[in-house]
């Protein structure tokens, strides 16, 4: 397993794509958060709404490059046929997927922490004295959300084996399902859709933050399980 991890880490750092996508995720998160903070109107009574929430709007954008990276980590290998080289080098396929998941988790956790801290600091700079807190929960929640979105993307991509399809499905889950919920008239179904969509579930109402992350974790676990079973069961 150590060797598989080492190999996956070497793969990630020997192509330029992952670094650019991670830098893009940081830039997108901080920029959109700063933009959102700058349009908040503060009166003498205080700033409307939840400031921490405002500063973290950017995560909704920053998750896109993270999801794309997660998909490409495995579909890039299917595209070139290199997956066969990988699976001859490490024939325990569950170990290959696990190694990819661990390396991805590490890379996204580090990047996500930078992005989320950056957003909060930008929010505080733009809205001084607004009282946004830098508690552990305010940072850990969104970072965990990004990690789970990455794992969701990896699982789906392992199942579909194609970059375009994988990116389409993951971005669809992240952005189209919440949109659909707006088009649903029935309030009950609207609530159900918003509750189960991986994007909205992990980032605030209607679920409490931790319950929302639980829903996203469920999505990620299901996707990884399905991808892992398919990877182990079929011809490479």
């Amino acid at each position: 397993m150590t060797r598989a991890l080492h190999a996956e880490w070497t793969k990630l750092r020997t192509v330029p794509g992952p670094l650019w996508l991670l830098l893009g995720a940081v830039a997108a998160t901080v920029a959109l958060s700063a933009g959102a903070a700058s349009v908040v109107r503060c009166t003498s009574a205080g700033c409307g709404g939840d400031l921490t929430g405002v500063s973290l709007v950017g995560v909704r954008l920053g998750q896109a490059p993270v999801a794309v990276l997660a998909v490409l980590v495995i579909t890039g290998e299917y595209g070139s046929g290199m997956i066969r080289t990988t699976l001859t080098a490490v024939p325990r396929r569950a170990a290959v997927l696990a190694a990819k998941a661990v390396i991805l988790t590490g890379a996204v956790a580090v990047t996500g922490t930078v992005a989320v801290l950056g957003s909060l600091l930008a929010g505080r700079a733009i809205l001084p004295g607004a009282g946004g807190d830098l508690t552990d929960g305010a940072v850990a929640g969104p970072v965990l959300h990004l990690v789970l979105i990455a794992l969701l993307g990896l699982g789906i991509a392992t199942a579909v084996r194609d970059s375009a399809t994988g990116i389409g499905i993951v971005l669809g889950l992240l952005y189209v399902v919440p949109l659909l919920s707006l088009a649903v008239g029935d309030p009950h179904w609207q609530r159900v859709l918003r509750r189960i969509a991986p994007m909205s579930a992990g980032l605030g109402p209607p679920l409490s933050p931790w319950a929302g992350l639980g829903a996203t974790a469920g999505w990620a676990a299901a996707a990884l399980l399905a991808g892992g079973l398919l990877l182990c069961g079929r011809d490479a």
């Binding site: 060797r3 793969k11 020997t14 330029p16 290998e77 070139s80 290199m82 001859t88 325990r92």
Partner: protein, 317 residues
């Protein structure tokens, strides 16, 4: 017990592989053995099941029936398989954005090897000048050299290469032949597939000819050539029609192999000379026919094709 262990490369034993894609059988009882110390050529037309067999040996594809073993064990049960079996697959390219060295580096790390070994194999296959360039810009020949470097990275006693000659220029082909021969001379078991026989001439000592999912032949090259040359005589004559009539009447089977050249089987050379002389058919040369690997291959695969298309052939006869 260990002090009595014989130090030699393991064999690859492929026995009775069967596999279907939908209704079409891809492998239909493929069986052969690859022994150490000699290059085993694995030839056959496209679609004969060569690549599928190699993927089965490497544990990538599952089979419906049969088993492929390396030193008595399936590939996936080997401890750190790339240290036992080096492989190059036809449809497995490196990532176009990664350098050749980067590609070898992750492969080295997957088997617990250092960057020093990577630089050694880069020298070995002559890729040093381009090793740090993105593999997407490599020619097909350079990519094959990179694949060879990847295969020998773990210094494995068994090497399995799918179409390593593909896209190589003449210099590369000559280099590859020498490299394969040296791998075998070091006592390794080497299995090399190709759909062009000429590439394996003077390289393979053993040949497995595949056709429609099974091995049509599994024998030494010398033996196969002797078998294909037996009782065959090459005849040069300007009067091909007369010669054919005379020899066919005497019971020989005659085929035109070129302008003014016939290949005669079923009659010894001296008898042919006598017959032609008696009938006053002019000829310039009678010699024992030396079959090439290409002849062996064509004869074996032609039989497979004829078997599939008996009716039209019977009608025209």
């Amino acid at each position: 017990m260990s002090e009595f262990r014989v130090v030699s490369a393991p064999e690859i034993v492929v026995s009775g592989l069967r596999k279907r894609y939908g209704r079409k059988p891809a492998l239909d009882g493929m069986s052969f053995t690859v022994r150490p110390g000699v290059v085993t050529g694995f030839v056959g037309p496209n679609g004969a099941g060569k690549s599928t067999t190699m993927r089965v040996i490497l544990g990538l594809d599952a089979v419906d029936e049969g088993i492929a073993l390396i030193g008595g064990r399936p590939y996936r049960s080997l401890r750190c398989p790339p240290r036992h079996v080096g492989s190059l697959l036809d449809a497995a390219s490196p990532h176009p954005g990664r350098s050749g060295r980067g590609h070898l580096l992750w492969l080295a790390h997957a088997q617990g090897l250092s960057a020093r070994r990577v630089d050694q194999v880069i020298e070995l296959v002559g890729l040093a000048p381009v090793a740090r360039r993105a593999a997407g810009g490599y020619s097909l020949g350079m990519r094959q050299r990179l694949g060879i470097a990847a295969a020998v990275l773990g210094d494995p006693p068994v090497v399995v290469l799918d179409e390593p000659f593909n896209g190589m220029d003449p210099d590369g082909i000559i280099w590859m032949r020498g490299f394969l021969r040296s791998l075998a001379a070091q006592g390794r078991a080497v299995l090399v597939s190709s759909h062009l026989m000429s590439e394996l001439q003077d390289t393979a000592g053993h040949l497995v000819v595949a056709g429609r999912g099974r091995a049509l032949a599994d024998a030494g090259v010398a033996e196969l050539i002797a078998g294909a040359s037996r009782n065959r005589v090459a005849l040069r004559t300007t009067a091909t029609t007369n010669a054919t009539r005379v020899l066919a009447r005497a019971g020989a089977s005659v085929t035109a192999t070129g302008p003014g050249t016939l290949t005669v089987s079923g009659l010894p050379a001296d008898r042919i000379v006598t017959l032609l002389g008696r009938s006053e058919v002019p000829f310039t040369e009678v010699s024992a026919h030396r079959a090439t690997l290409e002849d062996v291959y064509l004869e074996l695969t032609r039989e497979a094709v004829e078997f599939r298309a008996t009716t039209p052939a019977e009608v025209s006869r």
